[in-house]
């Protein structure tokens, strides 16, 4: 097994506020890696750093052995890091299919002139975009909603569409920011199944979750953050029995499901 993503000594400061303090994280290829911790622990900030949305104050991130810190977010996507957002960030006015088609952008190459002249290459690429977009919608079970306006989907549907959209960028590492938030137990079950199927495609998954049933059910490794620091890491079993983790959570009055 080898590390697909390595974050070393990540610190993020916003003004005087320290959001992350010297975090080291290593994600192994082919695993489902969960990131848990109380609200405000810095989980989303870490995901933002890993997807190059936020540049860390110090520290560096390597992806497949290549340093990616400081690159614009779109090149991280191009290199194979896909992500979803905690506060769903869809193209709400566009259809479900268009949402996924936009995500194929970095996997197509033709330029302005080719688009105007409509070369054979351009038409081929467009055909592939359409096909792949449909495939991803089928994969998450939304093919029947292709022409629905994304903003009109229910909450669970929007979360699934975010995943389909991220998958369409052909990631080798998928970052999911609270994918189960706002889902009912049934939807959570099929989400767990979906995440396992994503891993089955050879995609490594790093996910932030509050739903412990999901984390304990499918994660291979769990990392716990609290107040911007890593307080524990291990298998779900080890984490469940970890004293510090219990304190961090129970201190806030949250119990395992």
């Amino acid at each position: 097994m080898r590390a697909i993503l390595q974050a070393e000594d990540i610190t993020v400061r916003f003004g005087g506020l320290v959001a992350l303090n010297g975090i080291n994280l290593s994600v192994q290829e082919g695993q489902i890696h969960a990131l848990i911790g109380p609200n405000g622990a810095g989980k989303t900030t870490l995901i933002n750093v890993l997807s190059n949305v936020t540049t860390p104050t110090t520290g560096r991130v390597t992806f497949k052995g290549e340093p990616i810190t400081g690159l614009p977010a779109h090149s991280a996507t191009e290199k194979g890091i896909g992500r979803t957002f905690q506060n769903i960030l869809l193209f709400a006015g566009a259809t479900v299919l268009e949402n996924v088609m936009i995500a194929r952008h970095c996997r197509t190459k033709y330029g302005l002139l080719e688009a105007i002249v409509r070369t054979g290459n351009m038409l081929n690429e467009e055909e592939t975009v359409r096909q792949k977009a449909f495939q991803e919608l089928e994969f998450v079970g939304m093919a029947d909603k292709a022409s629905t306006i994304a903003g009109n989907l229910d909450h669970g549907g929007q979360r699934l569409l975010e995943i389909a959209r991220a998958l369409a960028t052909e990631p080798s590492l998928l970052l999911l920011d609270e994918p189960s938030a706002g889902m009912n137990p049934q939807e959570v079950n099929s989400l767990m199944d979906l995440i396992l199927r994503i891993r089955g495609r050879g995609i490594t998954v790093l996910l932030i979750e509050h739903n412990m049933q999901l984390v304990m059910g499918i994660a291979d490794v769990v990392t716990v953050l609290n107040f911007g620091e890593k307080i524990a890491e291990g298998t779900p079993k080890e984490i469940q029995n970890n004293k510090d983790v219990r304190e961090a959570y129970l201190g806030r009055g949250i119990q395992y499901a």
Partner: protein, 329 residues
């Protein structure tokens, strides 16, 4: 006539009307006079620049208060100033209403227009896309200008000088009383606005609304009323700027547009959303404009504010007083 031309070209066309009288001071023939003249000119330019700066500051306060309360920038803000100037002209110069009364009535009328503006233009656009709001304010701008064109005809108007052309002379320095009057009125207004916002309960409610509408309404603040009040204050500030401004410039249909845009530049330079920033930015702009026109070139005067603003956006985007804005994902 030569002297007149010199002075006029030095300070730009807006002080043309002061030219004839200021000329005498400027005609030193020996070296001592030349040196003195330099100092005098600087002092006069400072007064002139501060007066312009305070006009921009009043308009900028209106821009910033609206932005803080509602998150919108009203590009039609300057139109309140033009409207104020025209109404004051009709009342004072044409109908012979005494200046103080005419001033107050003008401000009241424009305040009413501010209420209408909130009802008709802003309310239906709340929560609409930013571009829609921008285009709508263009509509407002066109309407105001055409309305003025119909009522007052497209002729530049002279506003009567309330000081009847008298000048204040201190040593060799000659100061236009209107400039002092502007600075005085603006200072009084700013202090009263500060006291109103910070020492009265209505002011506290307005500040609460500006900070967080939801929380304010949970605390029992009538948010709707506070928003209307913000529009009224902002319109009044515009109108006052217009009336104060009227005697130094010709009153024209696009005079307010320039003031409004300069005020917006000033608030960016000061740090957008900051009230002290807007005032400092406006004073800085007033001074820079007057000095640039005197010593560099007067033809590019209208571009000075924009160039300074673009420089700030490039090298110090948070402005003089602003805080760095971070985007939350």
């Amino acid at each position: 006539m030569v002297r007149r031309g010199m002075w006029a070209s030095a300070c730009g066309p807006d002080v043309l009307r002061d030219a004839g009288t200021c000329g005498d001071v400027l005609c030193g023939s020996d070296v001592v006079h030349w040196a003195k003249r330099g100092v005098c000119m600087v002092v006069q330019l400072i007064v002139n620049g501060l007066a312009m700066g305070f006009i921009y500051a009043l308009a900028a306060l209106g821009v910033v208060m609206l932005y803080n309360a509602l998150g919108i920038v009203n590009f039609a803000q300057g139109e309140f100033a033009t409207l104020g100037a025209f109404i004051a002209y009709s009342l004072i110069a044409e109908m012979g209403v005494p200046y103080p009364l005419g001033f107050v009535v003008t401000v009241l009328i424009v305040a009413a227009v501010g209420v209408l503006f909130e009802r008709i233009v802003y309310r239906p656009l709340r929560h609409k896309h930013f571009l829609t709001v921008i285009v709508s304010t263009i509509g407002v701008m066109i309407f105001f200008r055409e309305f003025e064109r119909i009522v007052w005809k497209p002729i530049p108007r002279f506003f009567p000088d309330i000081f009847e052309g008298r000048l204040i002379t201190i040593g060799n320095v000659v100061i236009v009383p209107q400039h002092v009057f502007i600075i005085g009125v603006a200072l009084v207004l700013m202090v009263s606005l500060y006291l109103f916002l910070n020492k009265t309960s209505v002011g506290a409610k307005m500040r609460a609304t500006a900070q967080d509408q939801e929380t304010a309404s949970l605390m029992g603040v009538d948010v709707e009323k506070m928003i209307v009040l913000t529009f009224v204050i902002s319109a009044c500030l515009g109108a006052i700027a217009g009336v104060l401004f009227a005697p130094i410039f010709f009153i024209t249909i696009d005079m307010g547009g320039t003031v409004g845009l300069t005020a917006f530049c000033a608030s960016i330079i000061g740090g957008f959303g900051s009230i002290p920033g807007a005032i400092c930015g406006a004073l800085l702009l007033g001074l820079v404009e007057v000095f640039a026109a005197a010593y560099v070139s007067s033809v590019y005067k209208p571009a000075v504010a924009f160039m300074l603003m673009i420089a700030f956006l490039m090298f110090r985007p948070r402005g003089i007083f602003g805080e760095k804005v971070s985007v939350k994902v």
